[in-house]
Amino acid sequence: MEYSVHKNLDRTITVKLSGQFTSKDSVHFRTILTLLHNDKLETFTLDFEALEFIDSSALGMLLMLRDEAEKKRVYLELSHTHGHIRKMFEVTKFNQLFNLLHP
């Protein structure tokens, strides 16, 4: 998986993911998670538009991100959950756990 970080005045962060998000991305994801350690942060968006594939481990990581965001009182949203990724969210009912933008 590849990702790029877009910040806006430290208040909002958008992370755009691309490629395949699988169990092998735990190190990457740890780095993404550290972006939450920012007191001014209000909104954190994960953008799936360029992502092709997501697996069960990756979904597990998203749950951790959700817990972490709740702890830090950061509003977490996932945008562009399309195609296969959308299906995975539906199958796991994750669409009810997350705020989805442009689904």
Binding site: S23, K24, S57, G60
Partner: protein
């Protein structure tokens, strides 16, 4: 066919060759795709076998792969597997996505929990990272390097089965995954359960079986279509009570039926039925002018209305009357007062049946017509009487021929063709499979043969080699053809021929007054790349007879389970040829053919299982 092939060309069993990419000729196309994506240093072991499964009773093509942990851990492998499977089996995009997701999860479980013996769980990011670091460490360690994950793909008529096996000691997946809640780990099985039609683990968890139904999308669309047509059906309600008409009309309208017509007695109903041709009739029994019994009896006698669904509503309880109304021709009945749900359900069912039957009849009609046309086209692959008689005069031979297919169209064909003024080619082919598959392939082969014959046709061995390599590129690995290809040289009075797994040709030598059996062996065409075929030459003089036939002649059992043998055919040929001295031998080839067919028919009375072609050539 298979029996014969094994006898002539024993096939070496394909064994797993680790650390080496298999180059077995039986490896099918799909593996080419996989191989092109492989980095050999990843120690991928791949084997694709075309054979029959021992574990699953019904015959199905099956593909087997063994992937090293390192390679299988690659996230795109599941996608590549499904893409190569999809080259052979039609799978919708949606199904491909589902399968590749399941394969990904299944393979990951097999590697992590199976081969790498990692059974830890994790809740926090730190724990997860430790877990994944451990995976990476074990993937590189020599202790786990030799284990692999094997994937089998079985194609069944209505489902696709994947079996993922690891070499671990097993893992209790079920207790890991039955919490019903999604957590940081262990989501794989719930996801697979939702996506696959069925899944279970065997061998204490080291073997995962995933099943996917192969629904035909067109069929589903067809049923959707039927539903729409059900609600636009014409319904005729025959009832003398206006109140009942209103009641039923209202009920049907509420269930989206809009095409309603009413009649108030049997006579009016009869006229309107013939005029409107409704899809279903709702009939009351007790009516003035003409009652329901009379209506039923009369309408059933009108052509085209013998299968019209008639749903009778009756208040009568007596069994006699119920029986009587069925005897008169009613399709079904509901009792008054009408239960709305039951009534609508019955109307729907009868309409659906009717529409499906109509569709089926039309479909069958179309297929029969198309197959008829296909058979006419296929007949044209064989020589026409006029070309045949012209060639017979020119090259001084005669041929008696018999051809019958086991289904509407077949996989056999034969022919003769000019090479030059002195040399004529004769051939007989039998494509694997009969019916549509076989027939389509015969057209390909016929085109190919005629394209190559002018250039290569004078050298049978060489000709078959070129034909084989061209065919190998064109057709699926599971398809192939047997062939006898010979050239008759009228100057030298010889027959030069090459064969590919064809049944033993039998030659009667008039001068020696006895038969010899020619060698029909050789790899079937299209099955093995770069097969070699030898040209053999034998004398073929005046009054010599050559018997060629497709394998169903000798592979059709009689009631006692016996086959006709080559020796039986030799005996028939010798006896017939000897009993017809030369001056009476006007149509000896026809007499031989008749004797062979007579023997075949007395031997086997069962319907043909495969196409049957028999040719008897005689030189004069």
């Amino acid at each position: 066919m298979i029996m014969r092939l094994l006898r002539q060309n024993p096939i070496r069993p394909i064994t797993h060759q680790h650390d080496r990419l298999s180059s077995s000729p039986a490896v099918c196309d799909s593996i080419d795709t996989l191989l092109s994506c492989l980095d050999i240093t990843h120690r991928a072991v791949i084997d694709i076998n075309i054979g029959r499964s021992v574990e699953i009773p019904s015959p199905c093509p099956f593909m087997f792969m063994a992937l090293s942990n390192h390679f299988a851990y690659h996230e795109t492998i599941s996608l590549k597997i499904i893409k190569s499977v999809a080259k052979h089996i039609y799978l919708t995009e949606d199904l491909q996505q589902k399968i590749s997701t399941c394969l990904h999860e299944g393979i990951l479980n097999a590697i992590i929990h199976g081969n790498l013996h990692l059974h830890d769980t994790y809740e926090t990011m730190e724990e997860m990272e430790r877990f994944h670091n451990e995976i990476d460490k074990r993937l590189l360690s020599s202790r786990y390097a030799s284990s692999y994950v094997s994937i089998e793909v079985h194609h069944m008529p209505s489902e696709l089965i994947f079996i993922i096996k690891d070499q671990g000691k097993g893992f209790d997946y079920i207790s890991q995954a039955c919490s019903g809640k999604f957590t940081a780990h262990g989501n794989g099985i719930p996801i697979m359960k939702t996506l696959a039609s069925d899944l279970w683990y065997e061998d204490s968890g080291s073997k995962l079986i995933l099943k996917f139904s192969l629904h035909n999308r067109l069929q589903e669309v067809g049923l959707e279509h039927i539903k729409k047509r059900v609600s636009s059906s014409t319904i005729l309600i025959i009832d003398d009570q206006e109140f009942n008409q209103l009641l039923l009309g209202d009920l049907l309208k509420r269930h989206d039926f809009s095409n309603l017509t009413f009649a108030s007695n049997g006579q009016e109903g009869l006229d309107m039925t013939i005029k409107l041709n409704p899809n279903i009739v709702i009939l009351d029994l007790m009516m003035p002018v003409m009652d329901g019994f009379d209506y039923c009896q009369r309408i059933r006698k009108v052509p085209n209305f013998s299968h019209l669904p008639i749903l009778v509503q009756t208040g009568m309880e007596s069994i006699e009357n119920r029986n009587k109304i069925f005897e008169c021709g009613a399709s079904d009945l509901v009792t008054k007062p009408v239960n709305p749900d039951e009534f609508i359900a019955r109307v729907n069912i009868h309409l659906e049946h009717q529409l499906l039957m109509d569709d089926l009849k039309q479909y069958q009609k179309r297929i029969v017509k198309e197959l008829d046309e296909a058979r006419i086209m296929q007949d044209m692959l064989m020589p026409s009487p006029s070309t045949l008689s012209h060639k017979q005069r020119h090259y001084k031979f005669r041929v008696a021929h018999h051809f019958e297919t086991s289904s509407e169209i077949g996989g056999d064909f034969w022919g003769v063709r000019r090479i030059n003024d002195n040399i004529m080619a004769i051939y007989m082919c039998d494509f694997s499979g009969h019916g549509v598959t076989g027939a389509l392939n015969t057209f390909r082969l016929h085109t190919l043969m005629h394209e190559l014959m002018p250039t290569y046709g004078d050298n049978p061995g060489n000709y078959l080699e070129i034909l084989n390599s061209r065919l190998f590129e064109l057709i699926n690995r599971s398809q192939f053809t047997t062939i006898f290809y010979g050239i008759i040289d009228t100057n030298d009075e010889t027959l030069s021929y090459a064969t590919a797994a064809c049944p033993t040709p039998i030659l009667w030598h008039a001068d020696k007054q006895r038969c010899s059996q020619l060698d029909g062996s050789g790899f079937p065409l299209g099955a093995v790349e770069q097969s070699k075929y030898e040209t053999k030459t034998t004398a073929f003089k005046k009054d010599d007879l050559l018997l060629l036939y497709s394998d169903s002649l000798i592979e059709t059992e009689n009631d006692a389970g016996e086959f006709i043998s080559e020796e039986d055919l030799v005996n028939i040929l010798e006896a017939t040829a000897r009993s017809h001295p030369e001056k009476h031998r006007v149509f000896v080839e026809r007499i031989v053919l008749n004797e062979v067919m007579k023997y075949f028919h007395t031997h086997s009375k069962a319907p043909l299982k495969d196409d049957l072609t028999v040719n008897v050539y005689v030189r004069y």
